[in-house]
Chain length 343, copies 2
């Protein structure tokens, strides 16, 4: 008999508050790094997308020899007008040996966590080791997660933030009051990047925008490009991409969804996992510009689910649910109906 | 703010017992028939399979203009030895307009129900209208569901059952005691098919077997071939398939998974949906042999989820779960953490 664990939003919040969000981000980053190190062992299926006029619903599966995971995620730009999340999601982790799902988890908060953890893990390999100042362009739903991850994992102690919406800035400052991070508000993106070691772009508009123009990127900077993550949505002026090396999660997906959708199909990229294994060098000098063109890949969700599974087992958070039948005799499924007391 | 409904095993059993299993099967058959009638409107993605030495885990998505559904299903032949189900599953129904999932349902019982409902719905179009006697070869997990569906939807009043395992027969008879169906136990498959109007094959062995040989199929019979549903698993002697017309759910899938995997790639088949719309005739005469080579298709799961969604709304069965975040301000995801009382 197997049971399945459910980690809903309330459980997720309780788990994060028990462990501390900094520890959760560090833990997820370590799991992501481990899975990137074992990248060739993964079954990397493309996302399965169902498009409509209103948006897209996607399933993102991946597996290694022991575990299978998938995430359900939608993207509906018009949801914001109805007071709904543009993106929601949930994930499932299953046992490859039996095919039984083990964990069902909310993945709206978990996706923000894993995106920030992956960004900071990549920056630890790609940004200058002495990086202390981060420019943050976009103070939306992911901004606080990115900020805490870069503080905890990279050692950033100052953020220069810019957003076109003053209320977004106000929310960002309110949420991070007392976090120990020095926050300065910039009047423009150009002002935000002054003196920054790392530039994180994480804006929400679904269009080809120039959030970051070529003249704003100085030698030695690491660009953490988060917001350009689907066809028709980019943030960087294309010429930036030719000034340094571009690091990606999974080239076939990034060429469609990432900043490099602006570039020819054979535009050279470096796979992040090969930097982590040591097969390819990361940053080559203090003057090099490095760019992480992040779109979010199924293996990062897998790592997040794997981390969460280990934490719910260790802490007892999450509830047992009866999503799976557990008949005494597997051939007697019907017997569950005629003996309701066996449920 | 949107909530999501969870229909676990206990809720599913309670729902079936309130509505009556005959009504559930008839209801699902009507929903399947409606969706088959609108077949061209569906986005028909192939299954996404992840194979291992132990088995397979699959995601089966489909969508029309209003609703999106997918099923997670595994197939692990060795699970039986560990007292686990060979096949388990769950499904999700979502709103295409917002991408928000609405229903999470167990789909082990629901799959047995939809398979039986689809079989009986097909037989109502393909079997002789005066069919009263069904041969049932295989008394495993699906046998009782098939039996009740054929009683309720086709008008079968007598079943001649055969299984190699006496305990399976005993379980089948026990579960259907008092169901109003006359059950006779045959000593062989050949004896079971004597005088039958419909032959249902639903055996579990994962191999190319000859459960039904050519000489056992008389003129005018409808064959409901359920068990041959994955590569390397067939039940019918190939020559049977050339003696009548073969009806299938979705040819690209059935040619890989169904009985017709034994036949050349251009073996002629008729799509069941075209019979339901009236574009193609069903049974042509009282002497014709008709064969439903069923493998189970994503649209049938979609129909089942759609039916269940309507029933949980009407009855109140199922629980509200917090799989999705509902922040007051969608841009303030982080605010859920710092204000846990808002959860």
């Amino acid at each position: 008999m197997r049971n399945m664990r459910y980690l809903g939003v309330a459980d997720m919040i309780a788990l994060i508050e028990q462990l501390g969000i900094g520890n959760v981000l560090k833990g997820m980053a370590a799991y992501i790094e481990e899975d990137f190190r074992n990248w060739p062992d993964f079954d990397k299926t493309p996302r399965v997308a169902s498009h409509s006029d209103a948006g897209v619903i996607e399933l993102m599966p991946t597996a290694n020899a022991e575990l299978y995971g998938f995430k359900y995620v939608n993207g509906h730009p018009g949801n914001f007008r109805a007071g709904l999340q543009t993106v929601t999601g949930f994930g499932v982790l299953a046992d490859v040996a039996t095919g039984y799902p083990m964990l069902l988890s909310e993945m709206t908060i978990a996706t923000a966590l894993r995106t920030a953890a992956a960004s900071a893990m990549a920056a630890r390999h790609l940004a200058r080791a002495d990086s202390k100042v981060m420019a943050l362009i976009g103070a939306g739903a992911q901004s606080e997660f990115q900020t805490i991850a870069f503080k905890e994992i990279v050692g950033i102690n100052r953020v220069q933030v810019y957003d076109i919406a003053p209320e977004a800035i106000a929310k960002y400052r309110r949420n991070l009051a007392g976090s120990g991070i020095e926050i300065t508000v910039a009047g423009s993106a150009a002002e935000a990047v002054q003196g920054a070691d790392i530039i994180t772009t994480v804006t929400a508009d679904k269009r080809n925008a120039t959030i970051l123009s070529d003249n704003m990127v100085s030698a030695g900077v690491h660009v953490n490009a988060i917001g350009g993550d689907c066809p028709g949505k980019t943030e960087l002026q294309a010429s930036i991409l030719t000034r340094g090396r571009v690091f990606v999660e999974y080239p076939p997906q990034t060429r469609i969804e990432g900043e490099i959708q602006q570039m020819p199909e054979d535009f050279p990229v470096t796979e992040l996992w090969s930097v982590i294994t040591g097969a390819t060098p990361g940053r080559l000098s203090a003057h090099e510009i490095t760019i992480f063109d992040s779109v979010g890949f199924a293996i990062e969700d897998f790592s997040a689910l794997r981390y969460l599974w280990d934490q719910v087992q260790a802490t007892g958070h999450g509830q047992i649910i009866d999503l799976l039948t557990t008949p005494e005799d597997p051939r007697d499924l019907f017997g569950l109906l005629s003996k309701p007391e066996a449920a």
